[in-house]
């Protein structure tokens, strides 16, 4: 017998004051030695807000994108450095140490698309950055902080993949070769071997542009969301071949972002239908539909301790504690 379901959960708290649609979210762990992490949010009007999850107030506001939408935020493990990507074709590197908030460096981007950058930092002083590149279909790989363009990954002309829509750099434990997963406009996901600049494998997951993907490197399994009404789960075998494991039909079309929780137990999707959906990662069993926001949800982010933050066009950021880790 189906036991009566629990009513849908409520957010643990809501952060108001972004003053425009929230397009990027990122948890910044353990900065400033505080118990709870900071939450960074990027808004449509180009501001980056740093929220204290303790006081639930804005700690600092960074204005570095000239009023253009901030689409991506990432902190680096070495020292409190923040990367922010904006639609003003700039990727800024911020120094947040000791209360500073100044742009220390910036990279000029060559693509104005929606594609978010990705970073691969091995804990060293050098790190790798993937950004959408020239010509609409390339991905540019930079070595940072020197900003040296290492290579650009250009699909073969006859492949007709379209623009890269989302990127994820990663490195298998067994091999030092950096790999890049890229979702393309035609709905396919491709695995690039960055060193050899070759596509290892490509699989058509969706019929619409891939809007977001996340990859679980331990399970060699990833998930992607697109403008259509489905999530795709795919895996990578030992020959580095991508395979679709299944698709998961949703009620409404449009996934803006998808993230797997760091403990790889659940995943969350940001929906154009204003809803956040939570699934069990291993079985893809639907667990919850969070119907809190009143506009498109643009981004989701998980903290290391499992906290989920969702940012939406309704200018609110909601923070949820679901299935806490025991």
């Amino acid at each position: 017998m189906a036991a009566p379901r629990l009513p849908p959960p409520d957010p643990q708290f809501v952060l108001r004051g972004a003053q425009s649609a929230v397009h990027a979210l990122h948890f910044c762990e353990g900065a400033q030695g505080q118990g709870r992490p900071l939450l960074l949010s990027g808004s449509l009007r180009g501001l980056v807000h740093i929220w204290s999850l303790q006081t639930r107030r804005v700690v600092a506001t960074l204005d570095g994108h000239g009023g253009q939408c901030v689409t991506w935020l990432q902190t680096l493990p070495q020292g409190p450095q923040l990367l922010s990507q904006g639609r003003d074709l700039k990727l800024c590197v911020w120094d947040l140490a000791e209360g500073r908030n100044a742009v220390v460096d910036s990279v000029l981007l060559e693509s104005v698309g929606f594609c978010r950058a990705s970073v691969l930092a091995g804990g060293l002083q050098r790190w790798m950055l993937a950004v959408p590149g020239r010509g609409g279909d390339e991905v540019q790989i930079l070595e940072m902080p020197s900003k040296t363009s290492v290579c650009s990954l250009k699909p073969e002309a006859q492949a007709r993949l379209g623009m890269p829509m989302c990127l994820q750099l990663w490195q298998a434990d067994t091999s030092p070769r950096p790999l890049l997963l890229a979702g393309y406009e035609d709905g396919s996901v491709a695995l690039w071997d960055v060193s050899s600049r070759k596509v290892c494998s490509r699989v058509a997951c969706h019929t619409e542009p891939v809007m977001g993907l996340d990859f679980d490197s331990q399970e060699a399994r990833g998930v992607s969301g697109s403008a259509e009404k489905a999530l795709a789960v795919w895996s990578l075998d030992e020959q580095q071949a991508l395979q679709v494991r299944g698709t998961h039909v949703l009620t409404n079309p449009g996934i803006a972002d998808v993230k797997i929780r760091p403990d790889r137990r659940i995943l969350a999707t940001a929906g154009w239908d204003h809803r956040v959906r939570v699934f069990h990662w291993r079985t893809m069993k639907p667990l919850a539909v969070l119907a809190f926001h009143s506009a498109t949800v643009h981004c989701v982010a998980f903290a290391a301790d499992g906290l989920l933050a969702t940012g939406s066009g309704d200018q609110r950021i909601s923070v949820w504690s679901l299935y806490p880790r025991t």
């Binding site: 017998m1 189906a2 379901r5 629990l6 009513p7 849908p8 959960p9 399970e219 060699a220 399994r221 789960v233 895996s235 679709v244 494991r245 299944g246 698709t247 998961h248 039909v249 949703l250 009620t251 409404n252 137990r265 659940i266 239908d273 204003h274 809803r275 959906r277 069990h280 291993r282 079985t283 893809m284 069993k285 639907p286 667990l287 919850a288 539909v289 119907a291 299935y323 025991t326």
Partner: protein, 792 residues
Amino acid sequence: MLPVDGFGFWEGRELGKVNHRMDPEVSAVRLTILEAVHILSSSEDGGRIFCTLESLKRYFGETENPALPEEQEEFARIHFSTFLRFLVGKLSPDWLELLPDGQMEELWASFFLEGPADQAFLVLMESIEGAASPSFRLMKMVQLLARFLSVGRMAAVMEGQCRQQAGPAFPLLQETLLTKVVGLPDRLGNRLQRENLATFFPQNYFPLLGEEVLRVLQVVVDSLRGPGESLRPRETEPEVLSRLLGNLVTKNKKAQFVMTRKLLFLQYSCTMPMLQSLLGYLAMDSQRRSLLMQAGPTTHQVLKELLETWGSSSAIRHVPLVQQRYVSKAILICLAHLGEAELQDSRDELLASLMEGVKSRLDSSLPPVRRLGMIVAEVASARIHPEGPPLKFQYEEDELTREMLALAMPRPAADGPSEAGPSFALVSGETPDRETVDCSGPQAGPEGSDSELDSDDEFVPYDMSVDRERRSSKAPSYVRGCLEALTGSEDWERWEAALWALEGLIFRSPAATQEVSVELAKVLLHLEEKTAVAGFDGLRQRALVAVTVTDPAPVAEYLTTQFYALNYSLRQRMDILDVLTLAAQELSRPGRLGKAPQRGSPDPGSQPGGAVVPAWRAVVEERIKRKTRRFSKGSAGQAPAVGPNEFNLVAGYFFFPLLQHFDRPLVTFDLLGDDQLVLGRLAHTLGALMYLAVNTMVAMPMGKALLEFVWALRFHGDAYVRRGLLSAVSAVLLSVPTEQLLADLLDELLEARSWLGDVAEKDPDEDCRLLAVKALLLLEKLRDKLLPLSSP
């Protein structure tokens, strides 16, 4: 001085006459006893009396020198009762003290306790009933009877009866004996009144009797069974019953009455296992089975009668729900025991009474009654008419339904209940995983992750019913736009979006709503579900409530008029009642929304409370607010919201029109006739409105009108209506201020009080009784308030 009860038998001509026919040995017994009687009557010598009595005990056969078996038999059969009566007659304090240490009493009692038990019992009962009260003799006899019970002589009584079955039976004596055994608690209760002993209370006596019966049965079984035979390892209860009773039920009228009528129709105290055993017993044997199910003028057809009782509209109204459940379960058990062929024989008849019953049950306004109708109808129709289209109702599944469906599993008499019946199909409610279906490939594979042992148990899904398809962005932005979309539009997406958006728009733009409020209410009231919108009823109702709250007076006026207008469905009329209640609830919520109440100019004509006193405090505060510039409000909003009851000004519009026409039937709407469900709803609604009108000026006239309404309908046959009336009375008591209740409604309350008392005591419906008790308690409280006022 010596009462010689029944001793004429031994004296004069009687004695002589008998003597001539008796053989010498037998007359020897008689002579011995005559002599003993003579000695006992005349002698005052304790020793001699003792010896005489002792000597008679050889006829019990337990002494060293027992009498001949024939003599024992003669003594027991002919002389014992009479002798006991004589002994009873001897009983007096002086006589018992002829020997020290109670020896005499002990010996005297031993005759009752050791002799043939049935006669001893009858004499005991007879002498208890015959003795003067209160008296020494009565006391002694009662004590003796208690002792008789405690040493287990009742078993001997019954055993004696079993033995006599072999010889010539004494039906009359048995009948008397049975009556006395069964009626013992009543008889002693009547006789002894307050001096009754605990042993004779039914709750103590009958268990004892039960144990004795068991002992006797054991003895009987032992004596019947050959030495080699052993108990069969497991017998089901019907089999035990069957072994014990055989076909008694077909032979003995009384047993038949008890088993086929009393236990099924007159009582409802059997537990389900008992009921199953009983019906199982009836179904085991073909002769008994005919009682369950056979067309015939003489035999009771249990199933048919059960169905008739179950479906009788009078029984549905007047029989407690517990009993209705009992009968329903009995039907299901009966059906489970009967085979297809048997049911087919009188299919038409059964089907007819079933359908009749289903109709009466579905007409009821009480959901549990309806549900019993649905469950039994589903199961019964599937069994009686298996080839027909299956009946299927929608009802909530709970303990009761599961229990009942389990009872309905057919159990073939030959096999155990191992195989599940085909007609038993639980519809499981596993639906919410709708998203997981429709996978183009294999389900997201868990390979490699199995080792992780991450159990899914901790990942309990939340309710995902909110996850509906998103409506398009065609929703109108203004109330008027919604109105147009809902009336003229052929664009169903827009229509649907308008319905979704309406409630929010109404609350956001009260002024715009007020311009079209009645029109909007009219459209919503007549709105039909044109597309399969999820939650259509809820959306429509919420929008209606919102309109009513935004512009209460005109909309309530419109709705209440429509309630009694022609050409509405019952559903719409009930919707009107629900909307009025919900809107009143919203209006009366203290400090709702914290916004300035929108009040139009109060219309004194419709305010039976007389002149409406403006809430002066609000007016003053409003004025202060307008004249004062405040720089910071601080956290003033945090204080518990207080404010005048907004319902105050409009309660009259909601309430009084509903009362006006209830006794005037229309062509399509007759509240006092068939449409009692709506009448029940109306009563509940009026009660709710009354309750929500607490702290308003109109509470008193409302209360007065409501009590009149209640008085007019107080003997209504439908329990749901009565419940509504009773809660309405409570609402009056809660909402009308005490002083006004006492000043203006005293007569009505006194009237109501006697009615409440009656209901609390006699109403067949449990909820009615409970509600009446609650109302009475409120009245009590009222009286308590009154007393300190008047007493000093």
